[in-house]
Symmetry: C2
C-alpha cells in the first residue's frame, strides 16, 4: 500500500494522521505540487483529478479523496474508530469535517489560487482570499465543536483530523487563530499525540 | 422533521432525492438564498454556517451538510442503500460524490460568486469561473464513473444523487454537457425515476 501525497497538502496530512491513529505504517510517495508534478501523465493515470492524496492498494486499485480514503480505512480497520458510536454525534462530526474539507480547503488550494492570479488579482488579494476562506470555515467550526478534550468527546477522530491541517493552512495565510480558543485547545490535545505530531508537514521526508 | 432548503440549491436538491429514494415524505421550509435569507439571525441559529440544507429533527436537533445528512439518513433507514455493499466500490462512490460536493459545488456557490464580483471581476468572468469549475469536476467524474446503468451499478445511489444537481448547475452556467456522454446516460436513467424527477428544482413549491 502506497500513499501518494505531498508534505504540505492538507488533504494528505489528514490521511497521514488517520493511518497513524490506526497504528498502520504506510509508505509514502511525494509528488511536488508546487512544481506541478500532479499534472504529469503518470500521476493522472493514478488519479484523473490530479490531486493528492491517492492511496494505491497492493492490487493496483487506487482510492482518491481524503474523506473517502479515511471512510474506507475506518471500515477496514475499525479500531480505534474515527467516528463516534452515536448516530447524531456521528452526523455532527461529519458536518464539522465537511465544513473544512468541502467548504474551506477546496477554496484555497493551489489550483484555485493560481486561477485567481490568472484572472489578474494581485498577490495581496489572493492571500486575502485564502485567509478569508480559512477564517470563515474555522469560525463556523468554533461554533460547531462539541464537548470534550477533542472536537467531539475524549478521543480524536475525523473532526480533529480535518481541523489540525486547516489550522496549519490558516496560519500560513496569516489568519489570527487566537480568535478560535476552542479550536486551539483541541489542537493542543491533538498535538500531544504522536499520531498527529508525526503526520505534520515538517516531519515528512519531502519537507522543504 | 423539517428540511430547510431552497429550490435551486444543489445541496438541498441532493437531500430531496435521497429522502425520495428512501420513500420518506418530508416537509420543506424554503429560505430565499438570492435575497440573503440564510444570513438572518433565525437561520444562523439553526446553522451558523448560513448554508442550506439543514435538517431539523423533531427534538430540535439540527443536522447540516448534505453529505452528513445523507450518511445519517442511510444509517437510520438502510434500505434502499445509498452506498454499494462492496468496500472498494463504496470508496469509489464516495470519491465521485466528493469530487462534486467538495471540489466543484463549493467553488461556484452564491457566496463565492458574490466574492468574485466584490473583487472587481466582471459578470462574464464570474460566469466563466463557474462554468470552468463545473466542466472540470464533471470531466473528472466522466472518467471516474463505474459500470452499469447508474454511476456505479444497477441502482441509484450517492454518486447519482450528487451528479444530477451538478449537471443542472453546469447547464445554468452554459457548460456544453454533451462532452460527458457517460454522465448524460446516467442522468437519463435517474430522471426516469420519480424520486429524481420530484426532487428537481422546477417541481418545488418555492420554484420561481
Amino acid at each position: 500500500m502506497l500513499l501518494h501525497g505531498y508534505f504540505r497538502s492538507a488533504a494528505s496530512w489528514r490521511v497521514r494522521i488517520a493511518f497513524n491513529l490506526k497504528g498502520i505504517k504506510i509508505d509514502g510517495v511525494s509528488h511536488h505540487l508546487r512544481r506541478g508534478d500532479q499534472h504529469l501523465p503518470a500521476f493522472l493515470q493514478l488519479n484523473p483529478q490530479g490531486f493528492v492524496p491517492a492511496l494505491e492498494l497492493d492490487d493496483g486499485t487506487v482510492l482518491t479523496q481524503s474523506l473517502a480514503i479515511m471512510a474506507w480505512l475506518d471500515e477496514k480497520h475499525p479500531l480505534p474508530a474515527l467516528l463516534p458510536s452515536d448516530a447524531i454525534t456521528r452526523a455532527k462530526v461529519r458536518a464539522f469535517a465537511l465544513v473544512l474539507a468541502a467548504d474551506t480547503h477546496p477554496l484555497q488550494n493551489l489550483a484555485v489560487l493560481a486561477k485567481l492570479r490568472a484572472l489578474g488579482l494581485d498577490e495581496p488579494k489572493v492571500q486575502a482570499w485564502a485567509a478569508d476562506v480559512n477564517a470563515r470555515g474555522l469560525a463556523v467550526c468554533e461554533q460547531l465543536a462539541g464537548q470534550g478534550s477533542f472536537a467531539f468527546g475524549e478521543a480524536p477522530g475525523l473532526a480533529d483530523i480535518c481541523l489540525v491541517p486547516q489550522l496549519g493552512n490558516a496560519r500560513r495565510f496569516g489568519v489570527d487563530v487566537t480568535r478560535f480558543p476552542r479550536l486551539l485547545a483541541i489542537e493542543a490535545q491533538c498535538n500531544a499525540l504522536d499520531a498527529f505530531r508525526e503526520a505534520a508537514p515538517a516531519n515528512q521526508p519531502d519537507a522543504e
